[in-house]
Subunit: 211 residues, 2 copies
DNA sequence: GTCTATAGCGAGATAGAC
DNA sequence: GTCTATCTCGCTATAGAC
């Protein structure tokens, strides 16, 4: 009889894998916090490590380098939002309501929640072609415009669009930039802008649905 | 008779002062370029120095530290824009036309002009309360909202406002964020968004003036 | 899986020569 | 006004012990 049978080994391995996954999540949480404060350029691996209560080499054990950490952070954020709000259904009313719900979620979290700030920081830094998230952000904006375009076309087909059909590309860009425009003001001075009201008001101008 | 009389001294001093002012401008140009590429956090004084063709201590001779350099860059940019476009006249139509003209200037400069990118970078970084431009940006957004509010009220008084008067604060925030929303998309992919058309289209929805 | 130690580099800023 | 030299610090990343 062996000292450790197969079942025991497998149990231990899965327990370790779970612990490792948890650690990864903790590191990602810490990274979001750090990125939200100083951006990607301004954040050091050591800073992330300190927030996650381990050494910087501990972080590098889970993520090979700083760029991999950034990619994991962005992937997690986008997948979470995609799961929570159906912005890609193609249904116009669902898109509009999802967009408002997204703003409402952020507003209820408050200005100190790191996710919103992080996204603002990274998306600005990523304008530089040399930034590791440059391609990511290009794709992301294009995707959002695509979803908005599909939603507006769907509304046009149902006779609910308040703007000329040929203005749909223009409107898609405006919608894709709505959060970018309002978030900075809201983050700097929450009382200066009613995030949800401003988003809803703008979307109402495009579509004749009870928002 | 002295070796150097007063007039000679004064001439030399003013020549040196002019040369020094020119050098400062060159350094500021280099700084705008560098900040537009890597932001404030990601830019080193040595990088700015290399672009201006002098050593990093040469830069520090003209600006005591990195923060002073940032402040000088922002001051120059804001004063230049203020001189060129009358957004603070209080006259609604002038504000609206100036806002479109500003977008048109940026569009005509193209995506490779550093000014627009720089402003996007810095304004995002400055969301962090510890960023040296944090207070600056807070004031700036507040100022833009103030100008927009005054403009919209003026239009309301003239019977040219297309939205309810009580929605003016909402609209002021939307207008102040208009460029923030559109610039990133335009910078990442110039063909994806018609900057001027999108700005004009949005402003037309607020005011019944021939834009 | 996490650590200490260290390599190797680049940063901001100062001192002092010319 | 610009330079070289230097101080001091913090960074990314690797090697190797436990």
């Amino acid at each position: 009889m062996p000292l450790t049978d197969d079942v025991t080994v497998r149990r231990r391995e899965s327990r370790q894998a779970a612990a490792s996954a948890l650690r990864r999540e903790q590191i990602l949480d810490a990274a979001v916090e750090a990125f939200s404060d100083k951006g990607f350029n301004g954040t050091s691996i050591r800073d992330v490590a300190a927030r996650a209560h381990l050494s910087h080499t501990g972080v590098l054990h889970h993520f090979p380098d700083k760029t991999a950490l950034l990619e994991a952070v962005l992937d997690r954020a986008v997948h979470r939002a995609g799961d929570e709000f159906e912005l890609d259904a193609g249904d116009g009313a669902t898109f509009m309501r999802g967009f408002v719900a997204l703003a409402a979620r952020d507003a209820s979290r408050g200005v100190d929640a790191p996710e919103t700030r992080m996204f603002r920081m990274i998306s600005a830094e990523a304008l530089s072609p040399t930034h590791p998230a440059h391609g990511y952000m290009r794709r992301w904006y294009s995707e959002v415009r695509g979803h908005a375009t599909a939603a507006l076309k769907d509304l046009a087909d149902r006779g609910l669009l308040r703007i000329p059909r040929e203005d749909i590309p223009l409107a898609a860009g405006q919608i894709a930039g709505l959060r970018d425009g309002l978030d900075p003001q809201w983050l700097l001075d929450p009382d200066s802008v009613d995030l949800v009201a401003a988003v809803r008001d703008q979307l109402r101008r495009y579509a004749d649905i009870g928002l």
